[in-house]
């Protein structure tokens, strides 16, 4: 049995496996709920990208109060930060009991205490917002780090540019995870930017840049961990390019006919979970029984979560009026509903 890299313990290696497996299985369950039309709206997969989400989030220190802001494909990241399967199921099924009480979709929810700040749909906006979050760390001399995810597509937005430039000038403790998964909806990365690799953009902002194999969870962890430590030390912003591939479509409705079959197959062969399992076994870091136990735990947790919430009620219609302003209990009920 060879040494474990990146200063991780055996337990932590198992944890990484657990988070990736939980991410994939939970998404698979969401797809079947979607097919039974129990999900409201679409389902967005991170199939093949689980290592990028899990490995990067795992590099944060939750006890220190680090905070991340995910994108649609970072379910794994918020799970690592403490979001629970039942919360995710409730969001997708728009339950009254969900973290946003049915007001927002999928993983658009947050808990700053656990350390995740859900995004809005408008791509790029979370980069400036995470500037503010990390600015508060800096002002209060707290050794906390922020992390924000952007895709190859989101990096084309003005909001991304203004945010990362501001963070660079202020030397904020922010790690920017750039997920290069080959496509933005149907748009290949070469139509999104004239550079070959997203990491080439780092120098233009005067920030550190790293690139990593996004389908190797240990490599992602190790690389991101360096960036997190740099940020915590006051070393400022790092842009981490995670090279991976979006193996499922943009969302379940999208058969991604625009993606060459071979490309998908080539990346199937590099599946991050399969690779990690092989590595764990080869090095004797996890036994088949240990892995099976983890798989069972994942399955059980999802079953229980679904059992808990599947029949929960939809939000009370009139609750739609609550909480627009802090200073007013509710928005006025329209006159025509009072007739």
């Amino acid at each position: 049995m060879t040494d474990i890299p990146a200063g991780l313990t055996r337990a932590q290696l198992h944890e990484l496996y657990y988070w990736m497996r939980l991410t994939r299985s939970l998404e698979e369950r969401l797809v079947s709920l979607y097919r039974q039309s129990k999900v409201v709206g679409g389902v967005f997969r991170s199939l093949g990208q689980e290592a990028g989400s899990v490995g990067s989030a795992f590099a944060l220190d939750r006890r220190a109060g680090d905070i991340l802001s995910p994108l649609i494909r970072n379910l794994g990241s918020i799970l690592v930060q403490g979001a629970t399967p039942v919360e995710v199921l409730r969001q997708y099924m728009a339950k009254a009991t969900g973290p946003t009480r049915g007001r927002e979709l999928n993983i658009h929810f947050n808990d700053l205490n656990r350390g995740f700040l859900g995004q809005v749909s408008h791509l790029g906006d979370m980069v400036p917002v995470m500037c503010g979050v990390t600015m508060s760390f800096k002002m209060r001399r707290e050794p906390r780090v922020g992390m924000v995810y952007v895709g190859d597509g989101a990096m084309s937005t003005g909001a991304f540019h203004e945010g990362i430039n501001f963070a660079a000038v202020q030397r904020l403790p922010l790690v920017v995870i750039c997920e290069n998964n080959g496509y933005a909806y149907s748009t290949p990365t070469r139509h999104q930017t004239a550079v070959q690799f997203l990491v080439e953009k780092a120098a233009g902002y005067g920030v550190a840049g790293e690139q990593v194999d996004g389908n190797d969870v240990l490599a992602v962890y190790e690389c991101t961990r360096k960036a997190v430590d740099r940020a915590r030390r006051g070393g400022g912003v790092t842009m981490v390019e995670v090279i991976t591939f979006r193996r499922s479509g943009h969302a379940q409705h999208d058969n991604q006919s625009y993606v060459p079959k071979e490309e998908i197959e080539a990346w199937e062969a590099r599946d991050p979970i399969d690779r990690y399992v092989r590595r764990l076994s080869e090095h004797g870091w996890a036994s088949p029984t240990e892995l099976m136990a983890l798989d069972q735990r994942v399955g059980a947790e999802i079953d229980n979560a679904l059992m808990l919430c599947e029949d929960e009620p939809a939000p009370d219609p009139a609750s739609a009026l609550l909480g627009v302003l802090a200073s007013e209990p509710a928005a006025p009920l329209e006159w025509y509903r009072r007739l």
């Binding site: 409201v40 709206g41 728009a94 339950k95 009254a96 946003t100 049915g102 007001r103 927002e104 979709l105 658009h108 809005v120 749909s121 408008h122 791509l123 790029g124 597509g153 989101a154 084309s156 937005t157 003005g158 909001a159 933005a184 909806y185 149907s186 748009t187 139509h191 999104q192 930017t193 625009y258 939809a314 939000p315 009370d316 219609p317 009139a318 609750s319 739609a320 009026l321 627009v324 928005a331 006025p332 009920l333 329209e334 006159w335 025509y336 509903r337 007739l339």
Partner: protein, 325 residues
């Protein structure tokens, strides 16, 4: 005659104009090979080439700015917003650059910006917006919002031929639900600036547009059963507002209900109510009232969305109140 959907009509209108005028080109996200998130431009890139159907990075300000520059040079760009909710990302360049270009600098800027708007589709707060109110306030822009298959085609064609910048708000709920027979080979051009009487009536006028026209017509049917005769005015163009058509109907029915899907405060209905009050004060037998969405961001859950948005029953109840007044 062939049955076409609201979405087909937009597509056909775009295609006809691109065939008619090679200055017309399309620009937006995923509109090329993919044909756009709703497939409005499916097959266009094969048909017209990648230089007339341009895929862009996720950069709404660049899309609109580039369209404006090309328009200055004599071209006729049509921008697609993947969802109209992302038009907000181009708010500054639209209101400051595009809308003022002719006035401040005699620059021709005949661009069209179109995209899917509206709710009732479980899209949540960022895939259901009705942005008209944010642009209503900007001299130099025109805004259209088709309610019918025929106008979906007629307005996109007229918008492309118009010499002013036009925001074309199509309603995604109607895309595939609304079907109509359209005569083949007929050149359909809906005049910009003119409303349409969707139903004649004498007791009450409902002023509305886009998807709400259909709820208003449903309401009118129900009301006719209890002997209330409702006139439904489909604005079609939201800016400039067709005051003449509105006032003509007000003078006929003396009662007005304004209905829109957008939230109440600061919405289009307020402007119209003010104009009616200014121009038809003496003709009013009842206060002008509004049926709009509740003043909240549009929530995601079906129960919440249905509660927040106006429904046919709401229009019926409000109309009954109006005629009883």
């Amino acid at each position: 005659m062939t049955v076409v959907t609201y979405l087909d009509a937009i597509r056909d209108g775009l295609r006809e104009e691109m065939e008619r005028d090679d200055r017309v080109f399309l620009i937006g996200e995923d509109i090329g090979k993919f044909g756009g998130a709703f497939k409005v431009t499916e097959g266009f890139q094969e048909r017209f080439g990648a230089e007339r159907v341009i895929d862009t990075p996720i950069s709404e300000t660049a899309i609109v700015g580039a369209a404006a520059g090309a328009a200055h040079m004599g071209l006729r760009p049509v921008c697609e917003m993947q969802f109209i909710d992302f038009l907000s990302c181009a708010y500054s360049i639209i209101t400051n650059y595009v809308a003022t270009a002719r006035y401040r600098a005699d620059l021709k800027t005949p661009i069209v910006i179109r995209g899917p708007s509206g709710g009732y589709v479980r899209g949540g707060p960022f895939h259901s917006q009705n942005p008209e109110a944010a642009y209503l306030h900007t001299p130099g822009l025109k805004i259209v919002a088709p309610a019918t298959v025929r106008d979906a085609k007629g307005l996109i064609k007229s918008a492309i031929r118009d010499d002013d910048p036009v925001l074309y708000f199509e309603h995604k709920y109607l895309y595939r639900r609304l079907k109509q027979d359209l005569p083949e080979g007929e050149e359909i051009l809906t005049p910009i600036g003119l409303a349409r009487v969707a139903r004649e009536g004498k007791d009450l006028t409902i002023v509305t547009y886009s998807a709400m026209v259909h709820k208003a017509l449903e309401a009118a049917d129900q009301l006719s059963d209890d002997g209330v005769s409702v006139e439904v005015l489909d604005l079609r163009t939201l800016l400039p507002i067709d005051d003449a058509a509105i006032m003509a109907s007000v003078k006929k029915t003396n009662r007005v209900l304004i209905v829109h899907e957008d939230t109440r405060t600061g919405g289009l209905a307020g402007e119209i109510a003010a104009r009616i009050n200014e121009q038809c004060f003496e003709w009013l037998d009842a206060p002008v009232r509004r049926v709009c969405a509740h003043d909240v961001p549009l929530p995601f859950a079906p129960t919440l969305e249905d509660f927040t948005l106006p429904q046919t029953d709401d229009i019926v109840a409000a109309a009954r109140w109006m005629v009883r007044y």
